[in-house]
Amino acid sequence: MSGQIEKFSYDNRISRMFLYATLLWGAVGLLVGVLIAFQLYIPALNFDLPYTTFGRLRPLHTNAVIFAFVGNAIFAGVYYSLQRLLKARMFNDMLSKLHFWGWQLIIVCAALTLFLGISTGKEYAELEWPIDIMVALVWVIFGVNMIGTMVKRREKHLYVAIWFYLATFVTVAILHIVNSFEIPVNLFKSYSWYAGVQDAMVQWWYGHNAVAFFLTTPFLGLMYYFVPKAANRPVYSYRLSIVHFWALIFIYIWAGPHHLLYSAVPDWAQTLGVVFSLMLIAPSWGGMINGLLTMRGAWDRVRNDAILKFFVVALTAYGMATFEGPMHSLKTVNAFTHFTDWIPAHVHIGTLGWNGMMIFAIFYWMAPRLTKNGKLFSMKLANTHFWIATLGMILWSVAMYWAGTAQGLMWKQWDANGLLQHSFIDTVIAIVPMYLVRAIGGTLYLLGFFIFIYNILKTLGSAQAVHEEEAEAPALVLNNENHSKLSGYLRHRILEKKPLALTFWAAVAILVGTLIEMVPTFLVKSNVPTIASVQPYTPLELEGRDIYIREGCNSCHSQLIRPFRTETERYGEYSKAGEFVYDHPFLWGSKRTGPDLAREGGLRDDAWHFRHMKRPNSIYDDAYDNPPSIMPAYPWLITDDLDVSNTPDKIRAMQTLGVPYAEGYDANAVGDLQEQAAGIANNIEQLLSGTGEDVVADEIKNKEIIALIAYLQRLGTDISKDTNN
């Protein structure tokens, strides 16, 4: 029943290309990460330049490590393992190349635009719409190439790793498209289609599942191929891998954001819902245990073999992160950890630990196999790398758990009089030493990465490359006897034999979950209680808001006051859903390195903001020995003219999104803008006159800073107009 033996070759060149790209972008991404870590300890490292401030580099770092470093590594591993698991060359060499070069082009465009402050403001989806379209196209090329290879395969059965690859492809496509709905103003600027609460819900759905389907499922697939390879033993339990696969993709896409719904459902369902959320631990740990137990017969080798060591630590970190995740979704835990340094700590256990260590292990194993001689340049260096990377990761995360705990406690500390014990700046001063420890941890990890690059380049460079690896396998003869029976059709075994069916069912699984989850989200819009006094932003405030987005202020500042006394006491009245109905996009943020700004409006005067933005420490100089603020300075906002050439277009775009500016208002927008700006500039001139920092209103009224101040002064004020009425 088996067919003729066929000769063919595996395309190793494409894996090698992605491997080189991984090394390059990994170095860039980690380097930027180390720089921004040091910026939080030494703010002078922001260099007073727009391109190098924290707010712009932070999205550059996250995008570079997630999509450039981890992305290229995934592709390197998928192209290597997929061909071998299917006993077939990739479907089309041209598509492989297009995929590679397209992805690199996207990365270059992403890096350039993020440097320039061109950003949508949505975390992990900062890239503007033309790049979003490129991402979609290249992703489809990847999918077609992968599915095409499955169709021409010589192995009847699809190994579980391939299921993970398929689920990754399908889900990332859906996530990317739904979250990227935006209305372009011009080539470099767009506004999110969704606003406020709804935008936040779409974004959370995206963010949560992007972690699941870009940083988790592809790596589980890679784990199921490369761990058995490195351990030279079959996977511990194939059955476990099947259950683990379906449970993971189902629970992730459904149960994740479920917690938004809990209180609206009957008790019995609530209880079940919590159980399901916690159940996510089961499939995650199922994967971890399956990986670790696969290595159980090779424990004696772990001592000397850096590859196995990396796998062990990666899987352990995965276990930790996936235990912590569901814990964070418990309300009591979340109330404490949210917005603190617990969040970066949690994320970096996942990225430095799980993703990074997986990549190191896979590349140390794979690189030699792309050459004739097949030997790693130095196992000793790989072991050195292992210890440095592990130490770096531990320093990094311990420092941040420490900082997060200190923050969490200090933010909520009452004094004997029932007042908040600590001002915000005191909580910053308390944890800054931990930021140094974190930066040192990151530096160690980066150092290890350079050793990794050296070792891999030496491995590839010192032996003749095998770009085409000869192979042979019998042609596939499909046995169709079961296909006519419906009962058989439902069976997993048949699904396995049919890549398209598998793609289809994975898509259905994800789409059904998505729809059930998203329908309520889309009903939200009409269900946010409107607050009559909440009005659209003025043109000047809108421009200021765009500067806020451009500079990435939301990477350090939240705009969401939660209904806890500790927060209302510090920041004012808690945030209401109706306050955000014109916020395209929402800017709630996810981390409070600086204080919440949701009610910043009216808290300080215009001149205070002017001086603070120019040099944050100017407002603390007398009160402290050392300048305590770690916020970057923004001197260019004071010297750069505000560009109003797009203001009418922006108003029209907002109108398209349903923001109720009067018909034809775009024509008056610039006039109104200038009038409001002149008022603020005059006010600043008066306030600063005679202080030695005098300014002339006419000289600053056209500057960007005025727009930003207008926006800051508007934040959270509409609602109090309501109560005054």
Binding site: S81, R84, L85, E155, H157, Y159, V160, V197, A200, M201, Y224, Y225, P228, K229, A230, P234, V235, Y238, R239, I242, V243, W246, F250, W254, H258, L260, L261, Y262, S263, A264, V265, P266, A269, L272, G273, F276, I307, W365, P368, R369, G374, L376, L490, H492, R493, V512, G513, I516, E517, V519, P520, L523, V524, N527, V528, P529, L560, S575, K576, A577
Partner: protein, 58 residues
């Protein structure tokens, strides 16, 4: 805050219930087929990564 908004939507509770029921059904089906997966088939599948014999020892 999302929660409060959600509470105001009529009939919202049906969505999580549908999803829970669907999940339960699908999961049971998968469990059934997994448990009844034949041993030789499972062995074949788990040996797939090791089949492309490595040219090298590490």
């Amino acid at each position: 805050m999302g929660k409060e908004v959600m509470q105001n939507i009529d009939g919202i509770s049906i969505y999580p219930i549908i999803s829970l029921v669907l999940f339960f059904v699908v999961f049971s089906v998968i469990m059934y087929f997994t448990v009844t997966l034949k041993k030789d088939k499972a062995d074949h599948l788990s040996s797939l990564p090791l089949e492309n014999d490595d040219r090298y020892e590490n």
